[in-house]
């Protein structure tokens, strides 16, 4: 395969290079025109960037779940987006319950911690069930089989939540402490919630890195992702480690769900789909199987997606460019997979092991 590509350039590669060059020209030209027109102030760009950073942190947290599971099982856990949604959903019930009881107003910090714990527990329990019921019986099946199962599980969970909790959009309660903005220099300011999201995500990612690097479970996880059977010979309980990986990824997704709700303040049964795909894009962008890559990819995608539509398309005279932000994200996914399937930090996986 490799040598085949090097030996001669075929027309399909040529086609892709042309498409890539055209897109690059579009981006550069669009950016130039937008900046030249100067419709947007520095403050606006700054706001967009910070928003992108916050959104990217959430993507990064979800992406970690994809990457961890992929690293060990070599499968895309399609249902991960629904695990994210479940955390957000149950966290919402905890939040409204405490809000109504007046607990949230008296002990806001404790309340927020409880919301996080509820969400993370829910997601973790769901992930354990998912792994046990849907994925474990399929170890060693042909590749398409677990993938289809994961797609099925994703829809099953999504519509189970729809059935259980209804179809309406539920508005997340407003928590007073995290409202408002913090002034910086000049006209620049940051919303409090964005600071919280970025800080919380950074903390959790730091925790994850330490966990994977230095704990016994973390070492075992790395061993299992190297080679399952050798790890088993070394006395590692592979199934238990896989379950723990799912729990770890799901807890991060649950926490991401709460942060996402803090930002967008709306809960629905289908809220997981788009962030899930974005997070997967982020994981691929950073190099799937590589936690550091997932974080980097998430942040990059968040900012790219927030600035991109306005920056690239506005100058070209495209009406309502923000509508096309998902198109930009998906196009980036495709382009990354074509021109650098390893992602920013990863090894060459999409071809070699896929």
């Amino acid at each position: 395969m490799q040598s085949y590509r090097i030996r001669r350039i075929n027309w399909t590669d040529l086609f892709m290079w042309v498409v890539g060059a055209a897109l690059l020209a579009l981006i550069v030209g669009g950016t130039y025109l937008t900046l030249q027109q100067g419709k947007f102030t520095a403050v606006q760009w700054f706001d967009l960037a910070v928003f992108g950073l916050a959104q990217g942190s959430v993507y990064a947290l979800i992406a970690l779940g994809y990457t961890l599971v992929y690293g060990i099982l070599r499968m895309i856990n399609f249902a991960h987006s629904e695990i994210f949604m479940s955390g957000a959903f149950i966290g919402y019930f905890a939040a409204t319950g405490m809000q109504r009881a007046g607990f949230m107003q008296e002990n806001p910090l404790l309340g927020i911690i409880i919301i996080f714990l509820t969400a993370m527990t829910t997601s973790a329990v769901l992930a354990i069930l998912l792994e046990r019921i849907a994925y474990r019986p399929l170890r060693g099946a042909p590749r398409l089989v677990p993938l289809i199962t994961a797609i099925g599980a994703s829809f099953f969970l999504q519509y189970t939540f729809r059935g259980l909790f209804g179809t309406q959009n539920r508005a997340y309660p407003e928590i007073d402490v995290i409202k408002g903005t913090v002034p910086l220099f000049g006209d620049f300011q940051i919303q409090k919630i964005q600071i919280i999201v970025i800080a919380a995500a950074a903390m959790m990612m730091a925790f994850l890195v330490l966990f994977v690097q230095y704990t016994k479970t973390g070492k075992a996880m790395r061993a299992v992702s190297e080679d399952k059977s050798v790890a088993a010979l070394m006395g590692i309980d592979v199934d238990a480690i896989i379950v723990r990986t799912f729990i770890l990824g799901a807890s991060l997704a649950g926490a991401a769900g709460v942060l996402y709700c803090f930002m967008f303040r709306i809960v629905t049964f289908y809220m997981g789909f788009i962030p899930g795909i974005k997070a997967f894009t982020a994981a691929v962008l950073g190099g799937i199987g590589n936690p550091a890559g997932a974080m980097l990819g998430g942040l990059f995608l968040g900012i790219f997606e927030s600035l991109g539509p306005t920056l690239f398309l506005d100058g070209l005279g495209v009406p309502a460019p923000y509508q096309l932000k998902d198109v930009i994200a998906f196009t980036m996914l495709v382009m990354v997979l074509i021109f650098r399937p390893t992602g920013i930090l990863g090894e060459r996986l999409s071809r070699a092991k896929a």
């Binding site: 089989v145 199962t149 797609i151 099925g152 829809f155 059935g163 259980l164 909790f165 495709v334």
Partner: protein, 566 residues
């Protein structure tokens, strides 16, 4: 595990009962019991919602019986009864909780109506005992069914499912056969009169006995009939087969006249799904390329026809073409799109392919929805005023005429996929599915083979989309959501990946049934999701499998016993 033979395994029984109970609670709380309760299977006696619960109890009992060390015999039956009773206890706890506390703030379906259904309208304390009693009785039935010999069990199962099917479809059967004088009396007796919907009790019993006995008879005599058929000389065998085709042809021609407007409409939408299924079957089933953005080509087909034939003048371009002129253009554009979207994913496999194609599907939908392309394709308002086509002076503007267009399309697609399957290209596709690297080593041109798969699949989908455009007369971006791709995927997986008859089976089950039973519509994707998960574990080859694919999927199992021997 430490239990020896003949002892009763309490732990497993309890476990199964609880699992069954949780499944039951889930079914009740997602609202299926409540929603399906409106439709009766046996009029006034047994609703579909109850059937669902009874089935859960029955399966719980059956599994409990089969779990026992010496499954057949008393411990099995006791275990079945206990497990199903536990199931009923869990359900009654649910009923009590729902009755006691108002949970509707959170669980929207925990309604008083649910309690009413669960307690046989007897109120909480009394009804709960009845519920537990009923659970134990059904468990007993499950245990007994487990003891029966295979042959009889199959006949019983078939009889019961036939009763369920006829009960569900009674409305349709009555409507479509009402025209025939003699039949209506028999129907009246079988389905009961007036407003009650479902089989009458006597009708249900008769259906059950006839089907079960018929199945038993057929099973004992089938080898003989087959042998008889094979003994016939070549010539008369062929003429018998042609007679079969002839009857099928007549049925297809006269179907819309018999079915009436509404049912023809159902057949039409099923037909469009089958058409798409045949296309995706080539991509996923033959070539093994999991494409989740299949709806993109459907959209391209529909939008091309929409733009080219539209006459309202709201769009910038104004073609006003004839449908028959626009159709080939639409299909060619879909093929072109199939190739263009296929090139980037040539080097990707499995998971990556799925995600990227999904991304393509979403890109197309978002572009169709955006203000950016609104002047040319209508944005979120879509394209209205797509004129109905004319064929030899006949205006194709109602389901009954459109039916023939769809049937013609389906037969064309069927013919093409059948011929392709057995061709050199078809064998290349299958080689690709089994192992890409080996296929390449065998001299198969991966690029051409993959692109041809994408292109053929896209052509069928584009055709289906074009017909959809004239069927609806208007197209909106919302008709092209990811869910369509998932629907089609579920359809070919349930039917059997790579199996052409499987597409029809899957289409009837997953596209036809939900159209008929509107209660299902809400739970369509829930059921599909569960179906995909269960199918992949129990029967990954589908209901009507293709021989090679089945062998491939069961390879591991075939090897295992051999290993165990060694």
């Amino acid at each position: 595990m430490s239990t020896t033979q003949n002892t009763f395994d309490w732990r497993k029984t309890l476990q199964l009962g609880l699992i069954g109970g949780l499944v039951g609670v889930l079914i009740a709380l997602v609202g299926m019991v409540d929603e399906f309760d409106k439709r009766d299977i046996v009029a006034g006696t047994l609703s579909m919602g109850w059937t669902l619960l009874l089935l859960t109890a029955l399966i719980t009992g059956y599994f409990a019986a089969s779990m026992m060390p010496k499954g057949r015999g008393l411990p099995g039956i006791v275990s079945a009864v206990v497990a199903s009773a536990i199931f009923a206890v869990v359900m009654s706890v649910l009923a009590w909780l729902v009755d006691r506390f108002d949970l509707r703030q959170v669980l929207v379906n925990a309604s008083p109506n649910l309690v009413k259904i669960l307690t046989f309208e007897q109120g909480v304390p009394n009804g709960l005992f009845m519920l537990i009693g009923a659970g134990a009785a059904v468990g007993l039935l499950g245990g007994v069914i487990h003891i029966l010999p295979d042959r009889i069990r199959k006949a019983v199962a078939l009889g019961l499912s036939m009763v369920a099917l006829l009960g569900l479809l009674q409305e349709i059967i009555q409507v479509s056969l009402a025209g025939f004088e003699g039949v209506s009396k028999a129907l009246e007796w079988m389905f009961g009169k007036g407003t009650e919907k479902g089989l009458s009790v006597a009708g249900a019993i008769v259906v059950f006995i006839v089907v079960a006995a018929g199945n038993l008879l057929w099973n004992t005599n089938a080898p003989k009939v087959n042998a008889q058929f094979n003994k016939l000389p070549q010539k008369s065998r062929r003429s018998l087969r042609w007679l079969g085709y002839g009857i099928l042809f007549l049925v297809i021609i006269y179907l819309p006249a018999v079915l009436g407007l509404y049912l023809t409409e159902v057949v039409n939408s099923t037909g469009l799904f089958i058409l798409m299924g045949l296309g995706l079957n080539i991509v996923v089933g033959f070539a093994g390329l999991l494409d989740l953005g299949y709806v993109a080509f459907y959209a391209i087909g529909a939008y091309t026809v929409g733009v080219l034939t539209n006459f309202s003048g709201e769009l910038t371009w104004h073609f006003g073409w004839n449908f028959w002129l626009a159709l080939p253009v639409a299909v060619s554009l879909a093929v072109l799109a199939g190739v263009v979207l296929g090139v980037p994913v040539l080097n990707m496999r499995g998971d990556y392919l799925a995600i990227v194609t999904l991304g393509f599907g979403e890109i197309i939908r978002i572009l169709a929805l955006s203000d950016f392309l609104k002047p040319s394709i209508g944005g979120s308002q879509g394209i209205v005023n797509i004129p109905p086509p004319q064929f030899l002076g006949v205006l194709i503007n109602n389901p009954q005429t459109l039916y023939y267009v769809i049937v013609a399309g389906a037969i064309l697609a069927l013919f093409i996929s059948q011929r392709l399957r057995d061709s050199r290209l078809g064998r290349s596709w299958k080689a690709l599915r089994e192992d890409e690297d080996v296929a390449q080593a065998m001299g198969i041109n991966l690029v051409a083979t993959k692109l041809l798969a994408f292109a053929t699949g896209a052509a069928f989908s584009g055709l289906s989309g074009s017909i959809l455009a004239v069927k609806l007369g208007t197209i909106y971006p919302h008709s092209f959501a990811l869910l369509i791709s998932i629907n089609v995927l579920a359809l070919i997986i349930v039917g059997g990946m790579g199996s052409i008859p499987g597409v029809f089976v899957g289409g009837l089950l997953l596209a036809g049934m939900p159209e008929l039973l509107r209660e299902f519509a809400e739970y369509r994707l829930l059921i599909y999701g569960a179906l995909l998960v269960v199918m992949m574990q129990v029967r990954p080859e589908g209901f009507w499998p293709e021989a090679t694919h089945k062998r491939e999927l069961h390879e591991a199992e075939a090897v295992k016993p051999a290993e165990a021997e060694a």
